[in-house]
Symmetry: C3
Subunit: 198 residues, 3 copies
């Protein structure tokens, strides 16, 4: 069950990479590479930080296969994927909450203290998107105006500092997903910095 959700999150993240590659008019290999980076990047960095080598995303065939399949879907049928944009964003938000909670729980299980597990859970949730944007030559989306890393950090903190019961974990994952969806729907944004005059 968790495994299936994990792969769904990987697929959604990978689709976001594939669509960015299509928008940038990359060839099929570039699109698949970007899908792999977006789908697997967060989990790989999480596992490297925890000393889990080779990382699960590399060691289990399902992750690479799912992410590459998402890349091919995005390349072959960008119009279909774009029309299903709402479903993709929903899956992306679900993946965000799931990866944050699962990452924090895994970090705790590997001996990271609570604040460290929060950081690692957040990195697991947003790392793929950062890899995607840096490779595509964009400044990462999470640095600009959208509420994305914050709900992930909140859910990771709930799991890392709270009790690790399944009920708390599910509630935390749902919370991050709900905040992310509400922020998208209502256009929430955080205050911007006002740079001083030079």
């Amino acid at each position: 069950m968790v495994h299936a959700l994990d792969l769904l999150g990987t697929f959604a993240f990978a689709l976001s990479g594939a669509l960015l590659g299509v928008r940038k008019r990359m060839d099929v290999f570039g699109v698949v590479v970007l899908a792999l980076a977006a789908g697997l990047g967060g989990g790989i960095v999480r596992d490297v930080l925890l000393g889990v080598t080779p990382p699960v995303a590399v060691a289990h065939w399902a992750y690479v296969t799912v992410a590459a399949a998402a890349g091919l879907c995005g390349f072959l049928a960008p119009a279909v994927v774009t029309r299903a944009q709402r479903q993709v964003l929903l899956a992306d938000a679900a993946g965000l909450g799931l990866f944050a909670v699962a990452g924090a729980a895994k970090a705790h299980a590997h001996g990271a203290p609570a604040l460290g597990a929060t950081v690692i859970g957040t990195i697991a949730a947003v790392g793929g998107g950062v890899a995607r944007d840096v490779l595509a030559g964009d400044s990462p989306q999470i640095l600009h105006s959208e509420i994305y890393a914050t709900p992930a950090a909140l859910s990771a903190a709930i799991v890392a500092f709270g009790s690790r019961s399944p009920a708390v974990e599910i509630a935390a994952a749902v919370l991050a997903t709900a905040i992310r969806l509400a922020a998208m729907q209502r256009g929430w944004s955080a205050p911007r910095a006002k740079p001083p005059l030079p």
Copy 2:
């Protein structure tokens, strides 16, 4: 012998970093840093993913020395290196096949399954070029229009899924190099994505 080929590949990759630094008018330190990133990046990421720490490229003096020497060559004699562009590209293609095959074999020896070993071999072959381009502020070359990551992935897969006899490994490395050279000479390119109208 393998060691000498490994260092030749490192030198060729590092030269590509140095030449990019020269084209971007960096100072001597920037050129050397870019040469080190291009020459050592792939091997370092491969070893980190496999839990080999410190990575061989850091632990053995020869790698740093060869990559830094390539950086200085590129800085001091860019015209000579540019005139030898064909030889540099030939060495780069040889390094591509060699790093892919050696990376996949090393990953297999460290317990990665076949698909994981393919991914790690590919990362070993293209990782330095990605590090070079991201540091220089370019979107990585492998994402755009050139057949580069694919022959590396093909050769890594042959070694990872096939038998690990020396004959197979040599043939796989030569195959990647030959495809890369043919793609350059004939201007092969993969189909581009057609983004849907917004």
Copy 3:
């Protein structure tokens, strides 16, 4: 004492990230993320290369707290921080020498040979700045015209190749800081590459 210096360096590096985020008009979360990357990036990469997982910067609450606090300071009072620019640059130069020396000593203690310890110490000192610039979409400052990585490499080499007595370590850290400050004050710069005509 060393611990306090280490946290001071982290704070200074993180402030540089926060100020870049403010200049780029990021929201409060983007500014904090950039501060975390600049403050913690070098130490995290150092520890990953040495197989120290989870990295100290993640495993100890003080590092994340100090770096996030620097991010909030930069966001809330950019004018104050900008007026204190000289103190920030002084702390940054002190962090540079300290991280280079401490990184090289830690690498040696984990079995890296001298040249490898030099590379790892240099990465520890400049890695946060590279992460900061790449995330913000800039080409890393260390690649362009400023004497920054070189004094770090020099100090790391003194510790890695010389004796690891406290006196040598302190002298090496002070040397890197002094060269960095002198280079800033006098506008020293290294020779640029002259690209050959195409």
